[in-house]
């Protein structure tokens, strides 16, 4: 046997012994009735349509919970599920509960809308006590409808793990890429993709130096600089791919929407819609006082040209649970402290926003 054949056989044996797929895995396919009925939908109804099994939100919180007492070995490291949603820019969570009573959540960001995507989450990292998994649940944030194909918990083989890393490397975090402070760094396993890029840079430089004869200082410098350019170009491919996907997401999610709908979607908190509603009710030139918790600045911004004032006759409350209204005494309190008297309710905007009017100038 020549050396090539021996190497080939050794590689095949290595591949086989590394395992091409462990036997233990838990799979729920929701096109089968039994699996779909085993899971419990909280505040949602399930439907079977031509597009597959779907869950429709009916209230808060919107969860889909696995059967209890699963007793899944903590050695199974990945949860994988395939779903599609009509929205993007939103986060969902996989909640994992172990037998020792611990639970934690792992975040995932939705991919392009109306397309099935496979999401893989390492559930071993959060399992600090190594206890068997008792149950898992999916929570869908503010998504109204999701189509779910399957959920799988498994220990990937080497080639599956490579596939997982490859998928993670190319995944684009649409929802979390909204900070001015940094860009999410793609990972390969637990490491920044910059680390293998530097290794590649040095390897390329070495190859160039070896190939370029004669070996001079200039050829070494040229090789190093060209390797940097190559590494930079590979970096650009990965990172500009993310912008390309961002463009696709924006085009498909917002392309057909009106100007107001785009702002409302980009806002994502309801503050814009609330402010638009207020502007229709509050007379021109009048002022308003806002209680909106952490969204106060945003409502104030969207509300312009209606300005805020400490002595405003109108009081707008938006998503602020600390504010309470006593209709009998006509008092408005915040953290049990009276902030305005002689208050009357003007109108409500959905369940989160209310506009009051005070007949007392300069309250209180």
């Amino acid at each position: 046997m020549n050396r090539k054949k021996i190497t080939l056989i050794a590689l095949c044996l290595f591949y086989l012994f590394c395992g091409t797929g462990r036997a233990e895995e838990y799979v729920w396919r929701f096109d089968r009735d039994a699996d779909a009925f085993n899971w419990k939908a909280l505040n949602a109804t399930s439907e079977k349509t031509a597009d597959g099994f779907s869950l429709v939100r009916q209230g808060e919180p919107f969860w889909f919970v696995s059967p209890p007492n699963l007793n899944i070995s903590s050695q199974l490291s990945y949860a994988e599920f395939r779903l599609k949603a009509p929205e993007t820019y939103l986060r969902g969570y996989l909640v994992v509960k172990t037998r020792d009573g611990r639970s934690w959540e792992e975040e995932f960001t939705l991919g392009l809308p109306d397309t099935y995507h496979v999401y893989r989450i390492n559930i071993q990292k959060g399992n600090r006590t190594g206890s068997p998994i008792d149950a898992v649940a999916l929570t869908f944030g503010s998504v109204d409808r999701v189509f779910l194909d399957y959920v799988k918990i498994y220990e990937p083989s080497l080639d599956q793990l490579m596939g997982v890393y490859w998928g993670e490397f190319w995944s684009v975090p649409f929802a979390s890429s909204t900070t001015v402070n940094f860009i999410e760094t793609p990972l390969i396993g637990d490491y920044s993709f910059m680390a293998p890029l530097y290794v590649l840079l040095l390897f390329t430089a070495f190859c160039m130096v070896v190939l370029q004869r004669p070996l001079t200082r200039r050829s070494v410098v040229k090789s190093l600089l060209l390797s940097c350019v190559t590494a930079g170009a590979l970096f650009a491919v990965r990172m500009d791919y993310a912008w390309y996907m961002q463009w696709r997401a924006d085009r498909s999610s917002l392309g057909q929407r009106s100007f107001d709908e785009r702002i409302s979607a980009a806002d994502g908190t309801g503050a814009y819609d609330f402010a638009q509603g207020l502007k229709k009710v509050i007379p021109l030139g009048s002022t308003v006082k806002i209680y909106a918790g952490i969204l106060e600045g945003k409502v104030r911004y969207y509300l312009l040209p209606v300005k805020v004032s400490e002595t405003a006759p109108y009081i707008a409350v938006f998503k602020d649970p600390a504010v309470s209204y006593d209709p009998i005494k006509k008092l408005l309190s915040r953290d049990h402290e009276i902030v305005a008297r002689n208050i009357e309710l003007v109108t409500a905007f959905g369940k989160d926003g209310i506009l009051y009017r005070s007949s007392e100038a300069g309250h209180p």
């Binding site: 001015v180 600089l225 463009w247 911004y301």
Partner: protein, 479 residues
């Protein structure tokens, strides 16, 4: 109508700035039409907002007519001055492109393919930025909170609200930090005045245009000194900086600051070039531009002061070594002093504190110890985060392999300015409470972003010199 007025809002500052740059560089046939246009866009925008600030101080209502009159009068004056100095039309609008090295048509097949791919990629990136810039509304809370909220308020107020009886005196309650310079908010006010509404999308379109202007300026400024391939690579890599791209889609002030810093660097190199070749008149014009760009750094963000200090120090070094005239130094300092003094005297006059309340003086906090814990975080961000591409490793490598040539050439002055800025930030991070903003990653990457385009420019000039030594000895950075 909105589109026409938007075009007007963007074109007026661009034309004024272009004429100003052309007037300052009228004796230099080297700078191409597009280089002057990209340089002029930023300068013209800054001039517009500073004029708006002055109008606001004079209690003249901020409206389209008043600002347009000042802008158009400035443009007419500059046009007249160009005409009076006998500058031919061909000089003003001629493209005058070109630099060392042959055209792509004469290169190898691989060379031509690479040129086509790079050009297509840059154009795709420009189209992406334009699409997102003119389509997506403002969606980053940091951005609207710090820069757009005050702009919207000034737009509806039609003034800087300097009446002491006003409950929202100088944007109080809307300008989150009143000591932040007004360049970015007033850019947004100007667009809003032109289109007649505070439009959440168009108000922030400036950053997309600054991004494109920066990439364009990088290409044309580098092309003047090195080959087409080096210039294209510089523009390409700058356009692929992820954090810069993200900032092109929002309205934060770090991107305009980085654009003005790049403009200052380009003008500094043109100044050195002019002085080296004995064109004193042209050098004075470039120094005026350099001073204007440094002034606009100050007018854009508080960190702009660091850039002004670093460039002033580097120019002072050049002044001491090469003995440039005092008049030339004044050409740099005059715009810088005019803008900086006006802004900070104004802040003091309305009793707005100009420093962060919680940050102690450097000497006082340094006695508490140096915050060395910030160093690994900074190293991780510049080497292993996906914010900046591999520019830090690349520039480090260039300095290692080319340090002798750099020290022997005038590029050392550009490096002095760049390293001074890095040193200022590092001293602040290690010596003051600002280290917290490194540890929680709130400011460190944005601060680095402000000098990233300068790094690409210096790297392109250095790499161009190292790789193309044979072809550029007559025009490049070798002496």
């Amino acid at each position: 109508m909105t589109i026409m007025m938007l075009a007007y809002a963007l074109a007026v500052p661009a034309v004024t700035g272009f004429l100003f740059v052309t007037w300052c560089t009228r004796s230099d046939p080297e700078q191409s039409f597009f280089e002057r246009l990209f340089l002029g866009f930023g300068i013209g925008t800054g001039m517009t907002t500073f004029e708006m600030f002055l109008l606001g101080l004079l209690r003249i209502p901020l409206n389209l007519v008043a600002i347009s009159i000042v802008q158009i009068a400035t443009a007419i004056l500059l046009g007249y001055l160009l005409h009076r100095t006998g500058t031919p039309w061909r000089r003003i609008f001629g493209k005058e492109a070109g630099g060392p090295g042959g055209s792509p048509a004469t290169g190898t097949r691989l060379h031509r393919v690479v040129v086509i791919i790079l050009t297509a990629w840059i154009l795709a990136k420009v189209l992406f930025v334009l699409y997102e810039g003119f389509f997506l509304p403002e969606n980053t809370s940091d951005s609207w909170e710090h820069w757009s909220s005050g702009a919207k308020f000034f737009f509806y107020e039609k003034s800087l609200a300097l009446d002491p009886a006003n409950e929202h005196f100088f944007g109080s309650g809307y300008l989150k930090v009143q000591r932040y310079p007004l360049n970015v908010p007033l850019m947004q006010v100007w667009v809003s005045l032109c289109i007649g509404e505070a439009n959440e999308v168009y108000m922030k379109a400036w950053n997309a245009l600054f991004f494109i202007g920066m990439v364009g300026l990088m290409f044309f400024a580098v092309r003047r000194k090195t080959t087409l391939m080096t210039a294209l690579l510089a523009a390409f890599f700058l356009s692929t900086v992820p954090l810069l791209t993200y900032h092109a889609l929002i309205a934060y002030a770090d991107l305009p600051l980085s654009a003005y810093a790049l403009c200052t660097m380009v003008c500094f190199w043109s100044t050195i070039d002019a002085l080296k070749s004995g064109r004193a008149g042209h050098a004075r014009g470039q120094l005026v531009l350099m001073g204007t760009c440094a002034a606009l750094c100050v007018w854009t963000k508080m960190e702009g002061l660091f850039f002004a200090a670093a460039f002033s120090a580097s120019l002072a070094l050049y002044y001491l070594v090469r003995k440039i005239s005092f008049k030339q130094m004044m050409a740099f300092l005059a715009p810088l002093v005019l803008v900086s003094v006006s802004w900070y005297v104004f802040l003091l006059s309305i009793q707005v504190p100009v420093s962060y309340g919680e940050v102690k003086l450097l000497g006082a906090t340094i006695t508490k110890g140096i915050h060395f814990q910030a160093l690994p975080v900074i190293a991780e961000q510049i080497l292993f985060s996906a914010n900046f591409n591999v520019i830090f490793s690349f520039l480090f490598l260039l300095i290692i392999v080319g340090y002798r040539k750099i020290l022997q050439s005038d590029l050392a002055y550009l490096y002095a300015a760049l390293l001074s800025i890095m040193a200022i930030f590092l001293v602040l991070y290690l010596g003051t409470d600002m280290y917290r903003w490194v540890m929680n990653l709130t400011a460190v990457n944005r601060n680095i972003l402000t000098f990233i385009p300068m790094m690409y420019y210096v790297a392109a000039l250095t790499a161009g010199g190292l790789l193309e030594r044979e072809t550029v000895t007559d025009r490049g950075w070798y002496r």
